[in-house]
Amino acid sequence: MLKGKYVLLSLAAALVCWQVAGINNANSGIVDPCKSTVTANAGVVLVCPLGDGDALTAPVGGGNSQITLTVKDVANVAIAGIPATDMWLVGCNDGLLLCGGSQGSNADAATTAGGVATFSNEPVAGGCDTGLYAVVQGVIIQDINNCQPKCLAIAVRSPDYKSAGAPGPAPCGGDTRCPDSKVTNADFSWFVTHYPTTGNPGATYLACADYAAPLGAPIGLADFSKFSVHFAGAGHKCPI
């Protein structure tokens, strides 16, 4: 009889231990993109293949578009220690050409004990996109409300919009986007088509060519000046 009680108590203790251990087991360390969150204020930044664009902390026209990411697993437990190199940004419409791949837009540092990481720097990239996705270990962070990819309203615009041809991508016409990680005459020629001149007073406005405040039509001297910082002289290019 006494032996039976010990057996019962042992089983109960084992059950408690199993339950406690079970909680730990649920912390899988595998990113759950629907339980993770990513937030930022809307903004516009110029990015450059050389990496000397506008920081996310200093977008065009003021404000702060620093991105805050909180990574959680399926049990809604924060995941600490994810390396910065495992977190990066991409364009929501695949409109960016990152310099050096994902390392062109890594997080500032590894996730904290609370699973938090920030992105303070703009992607080192060419191209143009209307928003940014945060990616963790290859998974796009989703909107916690509907589990759909969360596109942050940070417009990203580069003076590298066109390709000069080989060894880069084939050149493309009109406003078709084909960045080649360097700011060249091809980009300048494209920019000029959106700059009002006596020969083209009604130049069409394109947001991708609008780099400086005040944002909105028409493209103006401040936009041209900012473009030229990355073009005139030796055009900026991805150093990798």
Partner: protein, 189 residues
Amino acid sequence: MKKALAGVLAVALVGVIAGSAMAQVPNVQVYFDQGHTQAQADCGTSGTTATLYVVMNNWNMNVTGVDFSISYPPSLVWLADVLPDPTTQVSIGQSPGGIAIAYANCCFLDGFQNNIVLLPFVLWGPCDCNQGPQPLVVGGYTPLGKTSPTAVRKEDFAEFQGVGMTSLICAGVIATEPSTWGQVKALYR
């Protein structure tokens, strides 16, 4: 006679003061010499070419872009715009209708000095100083609806407006007509 002389002196003094005040504001002016000291000139020989010097004066900031237009008198035929350093400067448009010039990151303009920003290449046409002075006027970048020159500050890409100055060909010849001091005073009543 003394009154007339005093009136002429007063008008001259006002002109000097106005000119001095204008010289202190950010402006863009065309000069006829590389040292940018001559904003007035006599007629050149018809059929010969010349270089003009467009200078930004008194902007007192680091400049990474500037735009303006130039209205040339009939005696000067515009041929081309030349940038002082095309390896670090780019332009859009042409000075008669409006030109925008921007600078590489390495080589922005030190606007605390007065810099030559453009070298228009012109041809002298028929020119007769007996017909009076001919203005060479700096205006705004008209395709963007500007009426005055503007420049962009390097640090924050903020745009500032300056004054477009007028240079003169045949400045020493001023058309006159006989009048009386009373008629002159009547203009200001």
